[in-house]
């Protein structure tokens, strides 16, 4: 039942992405409406899948790679939809939806086997820490998409070569605002993710911080974003630099999520 639901969800995301791509080319309003409806539908299906998975596993489904990546895609979807509800950024969906689908594909190819929960993870902190940390990633991913859009648009404006993006992408100002709004949500979540993790570590292993690679890398990510926000508030860093920093920061966040697990190991490595 769970697997079928997951496949339907994946298919719905595919459809939404295809619709957003068609909209990007044709720029017809009715296609955008359709794409958004499909995406909302996919998000709801995905939510249902998470619930089913929770029931099947008997614990918070955030303990293996399949579950984390799928939850990542889920946060990205709802993060995007919640932004959409407040700000209108043209063609943002055409950049976010492919990322969601890629994440879902990665989740498809990871093992979906439900393993018994390791004793170290049996804690109320599991849902709190893991969901906050991954939701932070969702918003940082939105800032990343916004950053890419900014760079594309600014390049055409600077070089005066008006191609595909000039007419389709929104103004630099709104893309820059998108960046700051996403970070305004993503950064506090990231901070909270690190703090809850550290409290949990104290309970589980008796120490707040043990310089495990995942901890180190999340701290590096945190510092990157902190630097960006600091510069934005003090000397007014914005535009291209802020966009590049959002892209670098997200790369660090992705490395924290995957690179660490596969390349460096450590106590977090059963997660993923």
């Amino acid at each position: 039942m769970g697997y079928l639901l997951f496949q339907i969800t994946l298919f719905a995301y595919f459809l939404a992405t295809a619709a957003y791509m068609v909209y990007f080319w044709s720029q017809r309003a009715e296609i955008r409406t359709t794409a958004r409806r499909i995406l909302i539908g996919s998000g709801l299906l995905h939510t249902l899948y998470l619930v089913v998975r929770f029931i099947e596993a008997g614990h918070t489904p955030l303990t293996n790679h399949h579950e984390t990546v799928s939850f990542f895609a889920w946060s990205l979807t709802w993060g995007y939809l919640s932004f959409h509800w407040r700000y209108n950024v043209r063609n943002f969906g055409s950049f976010v939806s492919p990322l969601i689908t890629i994440l879902m594909l990665i989740a498809t190819f990871s093992s979906r086997e439900i393993m018994p929960l390791p004793p170290a993870l049996k804690s109320a902190w599991l849902p709190v820490h893991a969901s906050i940390a991954i939701m932070a990633n969702g918003f940082l991913a939105l800032a990343f998409c916004g950053g890419i859009m900014y760079i594309l648009q600014e390049r055409e404006l600077k070089k005066k070569r008006f191609g595909l993006f000039y007419t389709r992408l929104p103004s630099l100002e709104s893309l820059d605002q998108l960046n700051s709004h996403c970070l305004a949500v993503g950064f506090p979540l990231l901070t909270l993710g690190i703090i809850t993790g550290s409290i949990w570590a104290k309970q589980a292993w008796g120490t707040y911080w043990q310089w495990d690679p995942k901890e180190t890398w999340s701290l590096i990510t945190w510092f990157l974003y902190a630097a960006l926000l600091h510069q934005r508030f003090t000397v007014g860093w914005r535009g291209r630099r802020a966009a590049i920093m959002a892209i670098i920061g997200f790369s660090a966040a992705i490395f924290t999520l995957w690179g660490v697990t596969y390349l460096l190991g450590g106590v977090h490595s059963y997660v993923g």
């Binding site: 404006l157 100002e173 709104s174 914005r238 535009g239 291209r240």
Partner: protein
């Protein structure tokens, strides 16, 4: 009514040089065409449209060929033979005339496709025709249809949305950089038509303030008054730039007035807020290296022309969609014209009455219990007879031979009375 009675005779920027168009426009006495055209026999309804790019007479006549000859002779005022004038005019009849007017109204036949003025001019021409009592039933409907087709094209295609002038392109770019132009400050350095036009466009988009800088302060004050702005001298330019978001420069200075090194320290003070610089001066006013600074966007006149060209291409694409709408609406109008004949009108009235009769019978029969076939037949016969008797006189009245004008009025009245064109109640 036969569509062949509708004709359009005219000249436009494609068919006739400006000297010819001028001669036909009657701009010194706009009343003349109405006075003169009215007395042409056979010219039942007409409208005279005159703009700087076209002069057209749209008319309805039962003898279109002869009427056209007389109108052409009047237009060219006998200074040119009928055949010679033929080199400059175009003549559309029937379906072609309908399509032509729809295209004109939607600005598909304009020099700059999509420019919005033509619709206003067409409306004015129609208003004049109505005031002069020159428009009748066919023309009323024809012109109104042309307006609604133009409106439909404007809402369903993006033919009117792209910038096709340099000054408008500057505004479009500003919007791509700043999004909303409210609360933004623009500065105009120097003077010149194009720069002032751009400043005017920016004002229309709601910029908060326009600052005017000029070599002679007095000139700056005068210009600033037009924009409700403030005037500064050229020496204050660089310190003022700290607050400015958009700068348009068009001085006659032979040298560069703003260097990259002047602006670089400013960007820090501006907290990196974007700065949009437009240089329309020849020779250039602004250092080309300015474009290399972060968050500074420098555009020269050539760059703006590129945007204008792109938009033109975009507009041509939309025009194809607009043409489809014209074809569709022309067909619809042809159908309406066809329905203005007596015979189809009688058929429609009968069909409508019969539909009502049958619907009522179907409603009533089940309530009457079991009836024999004979009884049912009797009811059918009775209701049909009633219907025919009620319709008899209106139909006889409609069929009666009248002069042409009366017939049209009668048709329109009857169609309205029986509500045969629902939704077309104008």
């Amino acid at each position: 009514m036969s569509a062949e009675k509708i004709m359009i005779l005219g000249v436009n920027h494609k068919t006739a040089p400006v000297e010819i168009r001028e001669r036909l426009s009657f701009s010194n006495d706009p009343g003349t065409p109405y006075r003169e055209l009215k007395i042409i026999p056979g010219c039942e309804e007409f409208c005279f449209l005159s703009t700087c790019n076209r002069v057209e007479v749209i008319f309805v006549s039962s003898t279109p060929g002869e009427t056209e000859k007389k109108i052409r002779n009047f237009l060219f005022n006998n200074c040119m033979s009928y055949e010679e004038a033929g080199k400059y005019v175009y003549l559309h009849q029937g379906e072609a005339a309908i399509e032509h007017l729809f295209r004109v109204g939607a600005s598909l036949d304009s020099m700059i496709v999509g420019e919005p003025q033509i619709l206003g001019q067409l409306k004015q021409a129609y208003r004049d025709a109505s005031e002069q009592d020159a428009a009748g039933m066919i023309l009323n409907r024809f012109m109104h249809k042309a307006f609604s087709v133009a409106k439909r094209i404007r809402t369903e295609t993006e033919i009117g949305s792209s910038a096709v002038s340099i000054s408008y392109a500057a505004v479009e770019l500003a919007k791509k950089i700043f999004g909303n132009l409210k609360n933004k400050i623009a500065m105009l350095v120097g003077a010149g038509e194009m720069a002032e036009l751009a400043a005017q466009h920016l004002m229309n988009q709601g910029v908060a303030e326009v600052i005017v800088a000029n070599r002679t302060f007095e000139r700056a004050v005068n210009l600033a008054r037009c924009f409700n702005g403030k005037a500064i001298s050229l020496e204050e330019l660089i310190p003022q730039l700290e607050h400015v978001d958009i700068m348009i420069s068009s001085t006659g200075s032979p040298d560069i007035i703003l260097n990259s090194s002047d602006v670089k320290p400013l960007m820090r003070q501006r907290r990196n807020r974007p700065l949009f610089l437009i240089d329309i001066a020849v020779p250039r006013d602004l250092d080309p290296k300015l474009n290399d600074l972060d968050n500074v966007y420098l555009y020269g006149i050539d760059d703006l022309s590129t945007i204008v060209d792109i938009n033109k291409a975009e507009r041509d694409k939309e025009a194809v969609r607009a043409e489809r709408i014209v074809t569709e609406e022309t067909l619809k109008f042809m159908l309406w014209l066809g329905s203005m004949e007596v015979t189809p009108t009688i058929v429609t009235i009968r069909e409508k009455a019969d539909a009502i009769r049958r619907a009522e019978i179907e409603k009533t029969l089940p309530n009457l219990g079991r009836l024999s076939d004979k009884e049912i037949q009797a009811i059918e016969k009775m209701t049909s007879a009633m219907m025919n008797k009620i319709l008899h006189h209106p139909i006889v009245y409609l069929k009666k031979d009248d002069s042409h004008k009366d017939k049209k009025v009668k048709l329109a009245l009857i169609r309205k009375l029986f509500n045969l064109d629902p939704g077309n109640s104008d």
